[in-house]
C-alpha cells in the first residue's frame, strides 16, 4: 500500500503531462510541498518514533505520539521546509507530546504489568542489557533524571546520533551536550550499581 502511494505520487507529473493537464502555480506549489513532506516523513518518522519510545517505553504509545507529532509537522510544514529545522522541531514536539503521554496513569500501569513478566536469569552483558528486568530498571533510572540530562542521553542513544548530531538537534553547544551526557551516565551508573 505504501509503495502504491509512493509510485502514484512519483508518476504524477508524467501522468499530468500525458493528459495535458497544466497545474496552476498554487497546485504546483502544493504538490511540491507534498513531495517534500513525504521525503521528510520517510527520513524522520523513525527518529520521532524512537524519541517517543525513549520517553514512554511503549511501542503503541510511541507510535501514537510520533503520529501526532508528524501530523502537527504537516500542519506547520510551510514554516518547516528546511530539513535541519524540521528535524529539530519534530524532536522537540515529539518530546513534549511523549512527556505528556508519560504522565498518564494508563501508560504507567501498562509498564508495571510488563515489568512483572517472568524471565530467565541473564548471563552475559548483552543478555543483562536486553533483559526485561534490566530494561525496566534503566527505564526507571532514565525517567528519574533531570529533563535536560534525560533528553541528551536518549537522543545520544539513538543510533546514528552522536554528540554533534545531538547538539544540532537540541540547538546546544557540543561541549554542553558532552558534559550533560557524562553527568547523565554517571547518575545512571550510580542508580544501577
Amino acid at each position: 500500500m505504501e509503495g502504491t502511494v509512493d509510485t502514484w505520487i512519483d508518476t504524477l507529473p508524467e501522468a499530468t503531462a500525458s493528459l495535458d493537464i497544466a497545474l496552476g502555480p498554487k497546485e504546483e506549489a502544493d504538490w511540491t510541498a507534498e513531495r517534500e513532506f513525504e521525503q521528510r516523513l520517510a527520513e524522520c518518522s523513525p527518529l520521532a518514533f524512537r524519541v517517543a519510545l525513549g520517553v514512554i517505553h511503549s511501542h503503541a504509545d510511541a507510535e501514537d505520539v510520533a503520529q501526532e507529532a508528524l501530523v502537527r509537522a504537516y500542519r506547520h510544514f510551510s514554516r518547516l521546509r528546511d530539513p535541519a529545522h524540521f528535524q529539530a522541531w519534530l524532536v522537540r514536539v515529539t518530546w513534549r507530546l511523549a512527556i505528556d503521554r508519560q504522565r498518564s496513569a494508563v501508560r504507567r500501569e501498562r509498564r508495571e504489568q510488563a515489568a512483572l513478566a517472568n524471565e530467565p536469569l541473564p548471563l552475559t552483558v548483552e543478555q543483562t542489557a536486553l533483559s526485561r528486568e534490566f530494561q525496566d530498571r534503566i527505564e526507571r533510572a532514565v525517567d528519574s533524571l533531570p529533563e535536560k540530562l534525560r533528553r541528551v542521553v536518549i537522543l545520544a542513544a539513538i543510533e546514528g546520533y552522536d554528540t554533534r548530531e545531538t547538539a544540532a538537534l537540541l540547538g546546544l553547544p557540543e561541549g554542553t551536550v558532552r558534559s550533560r551526557l557524562h553527568r547523565a551516565r554517571q547518575l545512571l551508573a550510580e542508580k544501577l550499581r
Binding site: 523513525p46 518514533f49 510520533a66
Partner: protein
C-alpha cells in the same frame, strides 16, 4: 598502596572521561593492583550494559505501515478541514482568546474613568469650578467654591468658557503639551443670594463642561433678579450733636 585516588578515577575511566595522563597512571596502577583491576572491570561492564540497554530501548522501529497510517490520518484531517465551515478554524481560537484578554484589559483600564462618569451627580449645594487655560497643576487650583447661604465665587475665563472638573476636562488639561502663553485675563463673578437660577445654569453648564458667559449673564438677568442691596442708610452725622459748638468765649477771657 593508596587506591582511594585511583578508585575515583576508575569511575571516570569506565565512562571514557578520564584525561590521558591520568589514564596512563591508572593503567600503570591497575596492572599491579588486582583489587582496582577488578573494580575497573566491574565499572566498565556496568557502563557497557547501560549503553547497550539505552541503545536497545530506542532501537526499535515502528511497526510496518507506519508511514501509511500517518498518510491516512492526514487524509482524514484534510477531509475534516474541507467539510468544516471556513470561519471555524483552529487559528481563531487563540485569536479570540487574545481578543478577550485585550478587551478585559481595556475595560480594567477604562473602568475608573467610566465609574467616575456614572457616579451620582454632586448635590446642588456644591459647585466645583476652576479657571481654564492655566498650566498650573491640579493641586494648585483654587479650592472649589461652595454655594452656601452667602456668596458663591465662580472663576470664569474672559473668553466665555467655564469648565467643570470632570475627568475629561482634567485629562484634556493634563494632556495639553504646549503651554498657552497668552491666557486671557480672568475675572470673578460675585453671585449674590437669590441668584438661584444663575447658579443652577452655571452648575449645569459646568457639568456639561462648557458654558458661555452670555448664557450666564442671561440667566442672571432673568426674572429672578437679586435683591438690590440697599445702601445702608446712615443718619447724617450730626456733628453738631457730637461736638456741640461751644459758645464763643469772648476773647480775652
Amino acid at each position: 598502596m593508596n587506591c582511594t585516588r585511583y578508585q575515583k578515577w576508575i569511575k571516570r575511566a569506565a565512562l571514557d572521561s578520564l584525561g590521558a595522563s591520568r589514564q596512563a597512571k591508572l593503567d600503570a596502577h591497575v596492572a599491579d593492583c588486582a583489587q582496582c583491576r577488578g573494580l575497573l572491570g566491574t565499572e566498565r561492564q556496568l557502563a557497557e550494559t547501560i549503553n547497550l540497554a539505552l541503545t536497545a530501548s530506542v532501537s526499535a522501529l515502528p511497526l510496518p505501515g507506519f508511514a501509511e497510517r500517518i498518510r491516512i490520518r492526514l487524509a482524514e484531517e484534510s477531509e475534516r478541514a474541507r467539510l468544516r465551515p471556513s470561519w471555524i478554524h483552529t487559528g481563531w481560537i487563540p485569536i479570540s482568546a487574545a481578543g478577550i484578554v485585550a478587551l478585559a484589559t481595556l475595560l480594567a483600564v477604562m473602568w475608573p474613568a467610566f465609574r467616575q462618569r456614572i457616579q451620582p451627580q454632586p448635590s446642588k449645594q456644591t459647585v466645583r469650578t476652576f479657571a481654564p487655560n492655566t498650566s498650573a497643576p491640579a493641586a494648585s487650583l483654587p479650592p472649589p467654591a461652595t454655594h452656601r447661604a452667602g456668596t458663591v465665587v465662580a472663576s470664569v475665563a474672559a473668553h466665555g468658557h467655564m469648565r467643570s472638573t470632570t475627568a475629561r476636562a482634567e485629562r484634556a488639561k493634563a494632556n495639553r503639551s504646549t503651554r498657552i502663553e497668552d491666557d486671557p485675563p480672568q475675572f470673578q463673578v460675585m453671585v449674590e443670594p437669590g441668584q438661584g437660577r444663575a447658579i443652577l445654569a452655571a452648575y449645569r453648564a459646568a457639568q456639561s463642561a462648557r458654558v458661555g458667559v452670555d448664557e450666564l449673564a442671561q440667566a442672571s438677568d432673568a426674572d429672578e433678579q437679586p435683591e438690590k442691596i440697599k445702601p445702608i442708610e446712615v443718619n447724617p452725622l450730626v456733628v453738631a450733636e457730637l461736638y456741640p459748638e461751644e459758645p464763643n468765649k469772648p476773647a480775652g477771657n
